[in-house]
């Protein structure tokens, strides 16, 4: 897999759901089209909430990488 260099990384580990999703929405709001936002989340709810929002908002889920005790979500702002 080709690693995508994130424009911005948000360490939302330890934030209770939906903190990581809210942080992502905030970053997408502030970001530019084609920016890649990476969110680190240790919350299990993020695994459904983040992909569901990305689909609804028509952005692109570039990758989900499982790490030790958390996951890294990369999202490209598509519009």
């Amino acid at each position: 897999m080709i690693a995508v260099q994130p424009t911005k990384s948000i360490d939302a580990r330890g934030m209770a759901c939906p903190g990581p999703l809210m942080a992502l929405i905030g970053a997408i709001r502030q970001g530019k089209v084609s920016d890649v936002i990476e969110v680190w989340s240790s919350d299990q709810g993020s695994k459904t909430d983040i992909p569901a929002w990305v689909t609804k908002a028509r952005h692109e889920l570039v990758s989900v990488v499982e790490e030790n005790g958390y996951a890294r979500f990369s999202i490209r702002k598509a519009r």
């Binding site: 939906p18 929405i25 908002a57």
Partner: protein, 378 residues
């Protein structure tokens, strides 16, 4: 010479912290609280004003009356903080030095960040906004009411849910419920940030015919067309639009470079000490902590900050850390309410809505002035 403790902001957190530091250290400290208005405002009351259940007059009191005599109140606005020189520059001129600084500067509303919001939307996040909304509701003849959120984080996370429940009751009493639709446009895929609370309130919303729109993060308002759009690409028509405005940290935080990109102060989640400057602490809405921005958070954090500062002045170890404690009421209308309680280690719990919690909320509203600012209830 006594240590100098300066507190910026005369809201719930600043007032309690100033009183407790003064009480704990007595003559070995000089506490100065700086507030631009010198008035203490009970912000949870705005919602009741908007729905005609309370008069605006009981929401504000002279800050001087809530502070211990030993605490000096300066009515002025802090315009810049120099964390290295440990000084605060004031709008009326001059500087005040500090050994320890408490940032209890709250959140400010950034209504102009959303195009069309000022012209097209109501809110209950200021007394003026609540009164304007009350007038609009008084002449409302029925139609589509949309309650949405135009930025996160915002103060009092349960407020939009409370508003739709209380509005449903209001419209029913006025005999125009059948001529109206109520939609809660939620930024998430559920009614409320906390899943357990959502599971409790969503069936009640359904039973009362309150519609739920999901993943709707407001992008712009079009007052001419009477529509509101979301960053997710949807459009919703309205006759009466109520939005939680975007929030930012205080101007002085942004101008002094003490906050993140939205002006929230980065602090340790346990000690509430600034991440870079060990003589600065922050409380309540001002912090960047990912917990509720609410009076209860400030209320529970203020004794921790007071304890941390008192220990440092004495050269001892602080007795208290902040454990993330938050407790909110959530009015569900028709004389019922529930509560939401949690901390860093315990997920939120909400009991079934009941009359008991509604009465408790009203008792709290009434007893607030005699208990909370003085730090009498913990």
């Amino acid at each position: 010479m006594p240590s100098q403790v300066v507190v910026l902001g005369g809201g719930v957190g600043g007032t309690i912290a100033a009183n407790l530091v003064s009480k704990e250290l007595g003559a070995s400290v000089k506490v100065t609280l700086i507030d631009p208005a010198g008035m203490h405002v009970y912000q949870p009351g705005f919602l009741y004003v908007a729905l005609g259940q309370a008069n605006g007059r009981w929401l504000a009191q002279d800050e001087r009356r809530l502070l211990r005599d030993e605490v000096e109140l300066m009515i002025d606005r802090a315009v810049r903080i120099d964390p290295l020189a440990r000084t605060v520059e004031l709008a009326r001129g001059g500087r005040i030095g500090y050994d320890y600084l408490v940032l209890a500067t709250g959140a400010r509303l950034a209504r102009d960040e959303i195009p069309g919001l000022v012209e097209g939307a109501h809110d209950f996040y200021s007394l003026e906004g609540a009164i304007r909304l009350r007038e609009a509701l008084r002449t409302f003849k029925g139609g589509r009411v949309v309650m949405g959120v135009a930025g996160i984080p915002y103060k009092c996370p349960p407020a939009p849910v409370e508003f739709v429940f209380m509005l449903e009751e209001f419209l029913r009493k006025r005999g125009i419920r059948e001529k109206s639709t109520i939609t809660l446009a939620s930024p998430l895929n559920r009614a409320f940030t906390i899943e357990a609370t959502s599971k409790l309130v969503q069936p009640i919303m359904e039973a009362r015919g309150i519609e739920l729109g999901t993943f709707f993060n407001v992008e712009a308002v079009f007052p001419d067309k009477k529509t509101v759009t979301s960053i997710e690409g949807e459009e919703m028509p309205y006759d009466l639009l109520v939005l939680v405005p975007p929030h930012r940290g205080a101007q002085v935080i942004e101008d002094s470079g003490l906050g993140d990109e939205r002006g929230w102060v980065p602090v340790s989640r346990a000690t509430l000490q600034h991440e870079k400057f060990d003589t600065i602490f922050a409380i309540g809405d001002a912090t960047n902590l990912p917990i509720s921005k609410s009076g209860s958070t400030a209320h529970f954090e203020a004794p921790v900050v007071a304890s941390q500062i008192a220990a440092r002045i004495r050269g001892t170890v602080a007795k208290e850390n902040y454990g993330g404690r938050v407790m909110c009421f959530l009015e569900t209308g028709h004389r019922q309410a529930t509560t939401i309680r949690f901390d860093y280690n315990h997920p939120p719990v909400s009991p079934q809505p009941s009359l008991q919690w509604h009465v408790a909320k009203w008792a709290f509203n009434r007893l607030y002035w005699q208990t909370v600012p003085q730090g009498r209830v913990a």
